[in-house]
Amino acid sequence: MNWSLWLELHLHFCMLSLLAVGGALAIVPEMHRYLVNDLQLLSETAFSQSVTLAQIAPGPNILLVAVMGWNIGLQAAGGFEAGGVAMVTGLLMALSLLTAAVLPSSLLSYFMVKWLHLHQHALSVRAFKAGMVPLVMGLMISAGWLLQTACNPQMDWRLLLLCVASMLIVLFTRVHLLWLMLGGALAGAALGL
């Protein structure tokens, strides 16, 4: 990985941090477009693994950026076979992208919180909040759709069914997410999908 590419990635994630209205999942479609389609730094498999594993591990969703950074760094340095150097590169890349993804928005929060407290009922703030809600909804469904497509490029109907079932279970029951992931894993392994 050369320095200019690294800098470009870092700055792009700084920008995404400020565009991440609605949180980490809302920028998943953009990360897919940028890292998988445009720069081809991540394969569909690495992308879907990153998002999936971030869902089963505890911690805020934004940590999926660290997993993507890890995968990018690891691949760029030659993968696991390259040994320690690749692991260190992965770790540095994870740290770099995660910092980029949280620092600008955190600075904004830090300095805006007083202003926002005072103006939370102002017309402009209410209009921004309400106006962005449909967008966030569309972006999060996009994130789910792109993850589904990345895991299931052949559009196997059984995987599609599993995806819809998982969505409905989350919406209409209170089953813990970990049970759902376990169920998905067992179904996938048992059917050899």
């Binding site: 929060s109 919180v113 449909p134 967008l135």
Partner: protein, 191 residues
């Protein structure tokens, strides 16, 4: 009955509390954050929490991270914000990387690959469900639900199907949606 708020004791307290909080958060952290900050630590009342959470959601960036920055900053300034934020990200981040490495070591086995596919689509369903959770809010939208839904569908089409950059989606759909909402709210206020 008014609850007497307790202040975090130190930056270390902030760091450790947010570490513990991060380690418990599977999928949705909101419930965990509320339980820890309101019930267990008694750092704020429920209504204060609701207000802080709403503010954290208004700003861009991960909501929990914003909340940790706002809360840590309020009590201990910049270093407090840093302590709370790094608590939330550091140990959970390392744990996550350990899980990823563990999975990748076995990812070449067909059964592990199949399990990952199954988990992946299950996770995809969860993420879509998280999007659908906004439907009640969109239904009550100042612009009315048909227009709200249209903006949601448009951003889906642009982001997921046409692969537009996020900046363009926000620049076009976000601007129009916020602008129309602004005008509608303005009319409502003056009416």
């Amino acid at each position: 009955m008014a609850q007497e708020n307790v202040a975090p004791r130190s930056r270390t307290d902030l760091f450790l509390s947010f570490t513990w909080l991060g380690l418990q958060g599977f999928g949705g952290v909101l419930a965990v954050v509320q339980r820890e900050m309101v019930d267990r630590k008694q750092w704020m009342t429920l209504s204060e929490f609701a207000e802080e959470w709403a503010l954290a959601q208004t700003l861009p960036g991960p909501n929990v991270v914003n909340l940790s920055v706002m809360f840590g900053g309020k009590h201990f300034g910049p270093t407090g914000a840093l302590a709370a934020m790094s608590g939330l990200l550091l140990l959970p981040g390392l744990l996550m990387l350990a899980i990823v490495i563990g999975f990748q070591a076995f990812a070449h086995l067909p059964v592990v690959a199949s399990a990952l596919h199954g988990m992946g689509v299950a996770a995809a369903g969860m993420v879509m469900a998280a999007g659908w959770r906004f439907w009640p809010t969109v239904k009550q939208h100042p612009l009315g639900w048909p227009l709200g839904l249209a903006f949601a569908a448009l951003s889906f089409a642009l982001a997921a199907l046409m692969h537009w950059p996020l900046a363009h989606v926000i620049g076009v759909v976000g601007l129009v949606s916020c602008g129309l909402t602004w005008r509608r709210l303005q009319n409502k206020d003056s009416a």
